[in-house]
Symmetry: C3
Subunit: 135 residues, 3 copies
C-alpha cells in the first residue's frame, strides 16, 4: 500500500478546501484499486461535492444551521466558543472516504470534487492521509 500525508493550509477559518488535484496526483501512475482519503483529526471530515457554483458555501451554511456553533449548546467546551459542534461534525461528515481508481484515475464524476470539510477555526493547517491499495 502506498500511503502518505498531505498538508492543507486552512488558514484558521472554517470551510471547504478542494483537494481533488492532490487526490488525482496521488493516483496517477497507479493501476486499478481503491483510494482511501482519511482525515486524522477529530473536527473535520471529507466530502465529494461540486465546487465553484455555490455549493461549497451552501454546505458551510447547512452545517451552521444543522449544528450551530453556539456557546452553551455543547457539553464539549474546549477551544473557541461553539467549538463543541466541530467535534460532532465528523459523525455526519465522515473523515473517511473510499474512491475507486481505474488505470490511475479516480472514477469521479464530471462535477465531483474531493473536499476537506473543516469548521474548526483553532487550527491553521490540517493533515489528510491518502492511501492506495492495488487490486
Amino acid at each position: 500500500m502506498k500511503s502518505e500525508e498531505l498538508t492543507v493550509q486552512t488558514g484558521g477559518h472554517g470551510g471547504v478546501f478542494d483537494i481533488t488535484a492532490d487526490v488525482a496526483g496521488f493516483a496517477s501512475g497507479q493501476g486499478d484499486g481503491l483510494l482511501s482519503v482519511f482525515v486524522p483529526h477529530a473536527t473535520a471530515g471529507v466530502a465529494v461535492i461540486e465546487v465553484g457554483a455555490g455549493s461549497d458555501q451552501d454546505l458551510v451554511a447547512a452545517i451552521d444551521h444543522l449544528l450551530p456553533a453556539e456557546q452553551g449548546r455543547w457539553r464539549h467546551e474546549h477551544g473557541s466558543p461553539g467549538h463543541g459542534r466541530d467535534h460532532v461534525l465528523p459523525a455526519f461528515v465522515s473523515p473517511s472516504l473510499t474512491i475507486p481508481v481505474v488505470a490511475g484515475r479516480p472514477t469521479l464524476g464530471v462535477w465531483q470534487s474531493v473536499v476537506l470539510v473543516d469548521t474548526n477555526v483553532d487550527n491553521h493547517s490540517r493533515k489528510v492521509r491518502l492511501s492506495f491499495i492495488e487490486g
Copy 2:
C-alpha cells in the same frame, strides 16, 4: 480489481432506489474482499437502510426537513427550483460505501439493503460504480 458501472432508472423523481440485488450479483462468485459502491454524481449518495417498512419514505422526508428544497435558500441556483440542496446532500449521505464480502456474499445484516439516494429530479437515470478488491 473487478469494476463496472450499473445504470439505475430513477425516472426523474427523487427517492430511494434499492440496488441490493445488483450488489449481491456483482459479489457472487468472488471470494473474500472489499466491495466499493461509488456514485459518480454530485447530487446523490448511497446508504444502507431497511426498505419496505416505511423507512425509505422516512429518509426522503428527513432529507426534505433537514435540507429543504426551497428556492432562494441555496446559493447554487442551476436546475429545478431548490436543486441547490441536492448538491449539499452528498456531504451528509456520502456517494461512497464499502461493504465486506465473505465467500462471495456481502456481509449485510438481515434488514439491510443498499440504496441509491437521489433527490435530483432533473435526471432520469444514474450510474453507480461497483468495484471488488480481493484480499
Copy 3:
C-alpha cells in the same frame, strides 16, 4: 482478508460505544492495508469522534434534535415508540467506515476514537464486523 465479528454490549440504552481498542487489537500484527468497520444492523452506524470530553453526549443530543424519536413522526412503526428514527440514522451516520493501517496500527489522530453509534433501545447487544485487507 482477515474478517471477524465483534459483539458490543449496549445494554439496551442508546448511545455511543467506544470500540477503538478492539479495532487496534484487530490491526495489531498486520502490515499495511485498509481496515473496514461495518455494522450489520439497520439501526446503527459507526463514527470517528473524540470521546471523554462531552462530544459523545453532544452527538446523542444532536441526533435527538435532528432526528427526533417522536411517535407519529415516522412511517416505520415497529418497535419502541419513535424507533422509526433509528432506521433513518444509518443514512447519515453510515454503518461503514474504512481506516488505513500502517505497520499494524490504525492511522487515527490523537483525539480520534472509533465508536458504534446505536440509538436503538430494543436490542441489548450489537455486532460489528472488522475486516483487514493487506496492500
